[in-house]
Amino acid sequence: MTPTHFAPPRLSLRLFAVWRRNFLVWRKLALPSIVGNLADPVIYMLGLGYGLGMLVPEVEGVSYIAFLAGGTLCYSTMNAATFEALYSGFSRMHVQKTWEAIMNAPVALDDIVAAELVWAASKSCLAGTAILAVIAIFGFTASALALAAIPVIFLAGLCFAALGLIMTALAPSYDFFMYYFTLFITPMTLMSGVFFPQSQLPDSVRTIADLLPLSHAVSVVRPLLLGQVPQQAGLHLAVLGVVTVLAFWLALALTRRRLLK
């Protein structure tokens, strides 16, 4: 790595042409894509919510399934953004050579990486919004405050897309992503209060858990779905924002090193 790799991004409006390309491909495959992003988390939420919910009558003063709804929304948004940045991003960058083709046009690599970031967040936000609709239809949220969760999951989508793009920039092949899921995404999901309150975690683990971006997303989204104003919302959103900026910066530097040689 050299300092030039870390130069600030130089972006142009052409990034929306790249975003649009991804959107047009998505539109062709929208139905399986939405079903895929929706069915899995909803099945888990209903299965665990009703199944475990029989054993656990109340968590933090609400039914287990209502507790689970906010966590499900966050972790499925995270998964959608991560999958898009990792597998689909890698396909476009490495397998299909789509990025190479675009760079021959008057579009810079910075625009492409930024477009991938915004696209992965858009797609994950769409998936999250669909899940939010299911949650509302099932009556697990009744508050208009839940609508405020949509921009929050968009921000979370940006954050996890940026983290994912770091992996994409480093990946030699698809198999590499297994490390990221096994060593980062899965433990983070279990430590971030998605399935059970973080108060159940041992103190030492709790310290680490508090640093994880998914914890911060859950801390804002869950109260919103329960009709409460989240505490320290500014802090949580700021953490997501700062992680997004730093992760994107690193992902861009790594991608420049990989492709601009």
Binding site: R20, A101, A105, P106, L260
Partner: protein, 312 residues
């Protein structure tokens, strides 16, 4: 000037591991000409193109693309250039027409601007009526032609093609050549890399042979052949005598008498000469040997300058 490269050097890595892939290239394209960059694998052709497009920084030297300095204004310069990359990079999820529309979007063109030109672009690529065809249903030659059409969406002043006919069958190659001639006739400047000598001889007004990051010769195909190689070649192969000795043994004993220069590759001797009469008369008296007499071509120059060893 479509492209002007002065003193281009490109190093990869740093310190003791540094590898100089391009070592001082000077190149000046004239408007409307077709210029071919020839060289074995690893000669620095693709790296030179990448530098010219501003996709990688030069270690030293200066580049001007369509009159604009690169990399400073590479983005603006690329708006006036079309590129056919070495590897197919069409969007497999889109139809032929959608590939062109989406690519035009990268140049800031609206769908309404490019849509009316699609029949013309597809016809140019010999893909009439294929606007709704999926990319997977196209043959290798059709994909390459669509890539050519895609490179023309912005009506480029300069078209850059990196090994445009590698892997294509003769019919597809001839069609691409014909289209490239048509483009130069219409005033488009073309820069292409190739390792097919016949392609360069047919298409290029001027060419440069590149090896190990340096330009070895530069000029029109005729000039290069005339300046660097004897006009006649006799390839000699087969059995020399009853002892089992072959053309190589024959060449060691006789080539110097009958030819100016002789290269032995395996069991074939390539004899280069200004006048092959006496050599052919001698060969007529060697019943076991067979021979092929032909005028020297660019491939002979290329092999003379870059050697016969494999490059991979």
């Amino acid at each position: 000037m479509p492209l002007e490269i002065t003193g281009l050097v490109k190093r990869f890595g740093s310190g003791a591991d540094a590898k100089e892939v391009v070592r001082g290239i000077d190149l000046k394209l004239r408007p409307g000409e077709c210029f071919a960059l020839l060289g074995p694998n690893g000669a620095g052709k693709t790296t030179t193109l990448r530098c010219a497009l501003g996709l990688t920084g030069a270690s030293s030297g200066s580049i001007s693309l369509c009159g604009l300095p690169v990399p400073e204004q590479a983005r603006e310069a690329r708006a006036r250039v079309g590129v056919v990359p070495q590897l197919d990079s069409l969007d497999p999820d889109f139809t032929c027409a959608e590939n062109l529309i989406v690519f035009a979007g990268y140049f800031g063109m609206r769908e309404s601007e490019i849509r009316p030109r699609i029949p013309e672009l597809l016809a140019f690529a010999g893909l009439e009526g294929k606007d709704k065809a999926r990319i997977q249903s196209l043959s290798g030659g059709m994909k390459r032609r669509l890539t050519l059409a895609r490179a023309l969406v912005n009506k480029p002043e300069l078209l850059i093609l990196d090994e445009p006919t590698t892997g294509l069958d003769p019919q597809a190659r001839h069609l691409i050549w014909e289209r490239l001639r048509r483009l130069t006739a219409e005033g488009t400047t073309i820069l292409l890399t190739t390792h097919f000598m016949d392609e360069a001889e047919r298409l290029a007004n001027r060419l440069a042979i590149l090896d190990a990051g340096r330009i070895l010769v530069q000029g029109t195909p005729r000039e290069v052949i005339a300046a660097h190689i004897e006009p006649q070649v006799v390839e000699v192969f087969g059995e020399w005598d009853n002892t089992g000795a072959g053309a190589a043994a024959w060449a060691e004993a006789n080539a110097a008498t009958f030819s100016k220069r002789c290269e032995i590759s395996g069991e074939t001797a390539f004899c280069y000469t200004d006048d092959a009469t006496s050599l052919l008369a001698h060969l007529a008296r060697q019943p076991g040997l067979r021979s092929l007499h032909r005028p020297a071509n660019l491939e002979d120059v290329f092999l003379k300058l870059t050697g016969r060893e494999l490059r991979d």
